[in-house]
């Protein structure tokens, strides 16, 4: 008996520790495991706005007509090799590439390359309520419905097999950026027809077919997504054979898996110092398209007085707020726009921290002995402001130095927003995460006169000149001209101080150093098409 066991053990040893054949090493080296924070709701990004779903699907499975240049977020060709906008800005024509293949999978074999029908199908599904696929999966397309996409687009024409024209009701220069976002993906019309013939339309968002770098292999609900390389990918050679999403909602489990080398990349890491202390790991950070700010109710005294607003702005030590509240995981915001936005004006300086200046201005405004004010702090944690209450306390201390007494006010989140919209506040701490990298998304919802009426503009600041600049910027598609308008608008904000921008928070991920290539971009979901791995794991 003992002898048999000894022999068996001897047999097992080479199995466990023996040499690998080169093909074996290749599998582990060519498979990347990404530990994500949640399960996707669907495999079609048109249907969602959730970042988790976008991360899991958009850049892995699909392409868009046009894309963002990762360097400056300008537009570059993708499935459309070029495009043309007419003088009046109402007709946009896209010329498609001829060499784009759809995924070849177990459940679908494409017989033709991408053509105009696929583009028409993808957008008509959203726009046309009579499209047989419109109400499949619920008929909700939140990104397009919030952006009034259906009001903007009159219809879409097929000029020939590789040319598509969008006819707009009015010119809107954010239209193109919207088409480049992660939501505006191109689906396969041929696959849709095949499913319709099989009477299985609902499968289109469960077993996805796209043109992207990876193709769908399997999904174990709530635990693992497995993608294979798309060998026919038109854009670049993808290095990875397999891309695996290991869905790990718990922060501490993701950290453990990273430390134990079970995950190559993890989303939203905790204990960043621990990760930094390890030689084999590193942290990626990228400034996202969001802003946390301190706002005034410009209709209520004393903040209807510009001098008072400026005095407060000079009295707040923004650098210390960013350091203490964001633990240095954000950059100081000089303007509303993140630094790498093409519309940002880098010449606008940060507001200098100077209690003396603030005191002088207060005296000039007629408040030499200060006053008492309310500061509303949002009750929830957001990327753009991880701890508004702490920030409010720091501001309270800063303002006490210039004799302004601050009462901190907070309500439950929905009540908070409702009361803000009613204008019951004096000052408030809030923020904004942009839906698109188009700069208009930062201005119009937050500071325009029209949103003042709906209560979305919580500063109740309405400047006709500023508003006019925003409108002009939308009517042209000339980027230089638009940037110029937005620069002027930013200068007006810096002059009028309806709000004080505080920080642009960063998005984080941690990875093993054996993974190379850029994965995160300032805008939109994660992208594994350029990832390279050099060492295997368990």
């Amino acid at each position: 008996m003992i002898k048999i066991i000894a022999r068996l053990t001897l047999l097992l040893i080479p199995l466990l520790f023996g040499c690998d054949k080169s093909s074996d090493i290749a599998l582990s080296n060519k498979s990347l495991v990404y530990c994500s924070e949640g399960s996707p709701e669907t495999f079609n990004p048109q249907l969602v706005t959730s970042g988790t779903t976008i991360d899991a699907t958009s850049k892995q499975l699909y392409n868009r007509l046009i894309a963002f240049n990762p360097k400056d977020n300008s537009l570059i060709p993708s499935l459309a090799e070029s495009w043309h906008v007419t003088q009046d800005g109402k007709k946009v024509t896209f010329y498609l590439r001829h060499d784009v293949h759809f995924h070849h999978t177990k459940y679908f074999t494409p017989t033709r390359n991408l053509n105009a029908n696929d583009v028409l199908f993808s957008f008509n599904r959203i726009l046309d309520k009579t499209n047989p696929y419109h109400y499949v999966s619920g008929g909700k397309y939140p990104f397009f419905q919030n952006g009034n996409f259906s009001k903007l687009v009159n219809h879409i024409e097929k000029i020939n097999d590789y040319t598509v024209r969008f006819i707009l009701n009015y010119p809107d220069s954010s239209f193109l950026t919207n088409l480049a976002t992660d939501f505006a993906v191109i689906l396969s019309a041929e696959y849709a027809d095949q499913l319709a013939a099989e009477n299985q339309k609902q499968l289109i968002d469960i077993y996805p077919i796209g043109t992207g770098p990876f193709k769908f292999e399997s999904y174990r609900t709530g635990s693992v997504i497995r993608y294979y390389r798309n060998n026919d990918y038109w854009h670049n050679d993808v290095y990875l054979d397999q891309l695996i999403f290991d869905i790990t909602p718990r922060n501490s489990s993701r950290l453990t898996k990273l430390l134990a080398n079970e995950c190559d990349v993890i989303a939203y890491p905790i204990a960043k110092n621990k990760i930094r202390s390890r030689a084999d790991l590193k942290i990626d950070a990228i400034t996202s398209y969001n802003v946390g700010y301190f706002g005034f109710n410009t209709q209520k005294p004393p903040f209807n007085n510009l001098l008072v607003r400026k005095a407060v702005a000079h009295a707040i030590n923004i650098a210390s707020l960013v350091k203490n509240v964001y633990s240095d995981q954000a950059v100081i915001a000089n303007t509303l726009l993140p630094e790498h936005s093409w519309a940002n004006d880098k010449s606008i300086p940060a507001i200098d921290y100077s209690p003396e200046k603030a005191k002088a201005m207060l005296a000039l405004a007629g408040y030499p002995n200060g006053f008492t004010m309310d500061l509303w702090a949002m009750p929830v944690q957001r990327a753009y402001n991880p701890n508004a209450l702490k920030m409010a306390k720091l501001i309270q201390a800063d303002l006490a130095a210039i004799n302004i007494k601050v009462n901190i006010v907070s309500y439950e989140w929905n009540t908070f927003l409702r009361k803000l919209a009613l204008g019951e506040h004096q000052t408030f701490l809030l923020g904004w995460s942009a839906d698109t990298p188009d700069p208009d998304n930062f201005f119009t919802p937050m500071l325009s006169c029209s949103s003042e009426k709906t209560g979305n503009n919580r500063t109740f600041w309405c400047d006709p000149q500023f508003d006019n600049l925003l409108k002009q910027a939308l009517q042209t598609s000339n980027i230089a001209l638009r940037a110029d308008y937005y620069h002027q608008a930013l200068h007006i904000i810096a002059e009028q101080v309806p709000l004080i921008p505080i920080a642009h928070a960063k998005r984080f991920q941690a990875r093993n150093k054996h993974i190379y290539g850029q994965l995160l971009y300032p805008f939109g979901g994660i992208d594994f098409s350029h990832a390279i791995k050099t060492v295997g794991n368990f």
């Binding site: 199995l15 093909s23 134990a260 368990f538």
Partner: protein
């Protein structure tokens, strides 16, 4: 033996009846609509629910409801899990084997550690080695399994980086689940990387199985020690000594075999104990077994899953118990009468 078998089977039958009555009554005891708790169909509209009620005889009295419930259970229909609307039957048939696999490996580890160490302790009875082993086994038995699991992850996964901390196999290997027992599935698969997968699966099972094995191993140590001491005290050992056999000849030829015989019953009983440890450990090591699934279901108030999971698990444990008894009784005729008074 016949009477013994009959008695065991009656016991088995009535226990199952009580278990199923209890499981069925849970759908009334949990908050919410009983028919929804029983079937897990939380998204159905009123008309669909009415049809379901008809199907499950919910318009008749409780007895018919229970009978109809049994019919569904025997046809393998356990309803849908409330949180993801997947059928529970196939899910359990994948999860239970994973737990059994983990427990069996843990049992083997416990045996390979416990029995030899116990024998050593007995051979060196009342010597420093014996005392040390006893102290260590006491400590091992006292350590809570979840704490041990976390410490093991901290040391072997995070600091040393030797072994993975979660799951049953590296995610890069795709193994089709046929039997649910992963090692068998790997060997049966035609995956070109199957030896790599086998290695990965082995690396993954070492840590959780060892953690589970610690407590039963300490029990085996003490059982083996006692069994060996008894054997060493017998007359045939003394006569062997008198014949002039060497010490190792006595131990190897006579003592070990006889001491092992005494252990068989305990091994079976410990297996059930070990399943309980396994379920807790599964949560810590994210092992894809039934314990982790059941505990998650409890967190998520997934009543259908709790109900079916409890029924299947307790039935399985009971079957193991009965089988152990049969096995032992077949080997040892004295047990048939002595333990159950059938003589």
């Amino acid at each position: 033996m016949l009477i013994f078998t009959l008695r065991r089977l009656t016991l088995f039958f009535f226990t199952l009846v009580i278990l199923s009555v209890f499981a069925f009554s849970l759908c009334y005891l949990f908050p919410g609509e009983p028919i929804v708790n029983l079937t897990g169909r939380i998204n159905d509209n009123a008309a669909q629910l009415a049809a379901l009620k008809l199907q499950y005889h919910f318009n008749e009295n409780v007895f018919f409801q229970y009978i109809s419930y049994l019919k569904h259970i025997f046809s393998g229909n356990f309803g849908l899990a409330m949180n993801n609307q997947l059928p529970i039957g196939p899910l359990i048939s994948k999860l239970l084997p994973a737990t059994i696999e983990l427990s069996l490996v843990a049992l083997l580890i416990a045996l390979f550690i416990g029995i030899p160490v116990g024998f050593i302790a007995a051979i060196f009875h009342r010597k420093p080695i014996d005392n040390t082993i006893l102290i260590l086994s006491m400590i091992g038995y006292s350590i809570p399994v979840f704490w041990l699991g976390l410490i093991a992850i901290l040391i072997f996964s995070i600091y040393l980086g030797w072994l993975p901390s979660s799951g049953g196999i590296g995610l890069i290997y795709e193994i089709k689940s046929v039997t649910g027992i992963q090692f068998i599935d790997i060997l049966m698969s035609d995956n070109p990387f199957k030896w790599q997968a086998f290695r990965s699966a082995t690396m993954h099972i070492i840590l959780p199985a060892t953690v589970i094995a610690i407590a039963p191993a300490t029990i085996f140590i003490r059982l083996a020690r006692t069994a060996m001491l008894e054997v060493l005290d017998t007359n045939y050992i003394k006569s062997a000594q008198a014949k002039g056999l060497t010490f190792f000849e006595i131990i190897y030829q006579h003592a070990i075999r006889n001491a092992l015989m005494k252990m068989i019953l305990h091994v079976g009983l410990q297996f059930v104990n070990l399943m309980t440890f396994a379920m807790i450990t599964e949560v810590i090591f994210s092992w894809p077994g039934i314990g982790r699934w059941l505990i998650n279901s409890i967190y998520q108030r997934d009543y259908t899953a709790i109900q079916s999971g409890l029924l299947v698990l307790s039935t399985f444990i009971f079957i193991v118990h009965i089988l152990t008894d049969f096995f032992y009784a077949a080997l040892n005729p004295i047990a048939r009468g002595k333990r159950f008074g059938s003589r």
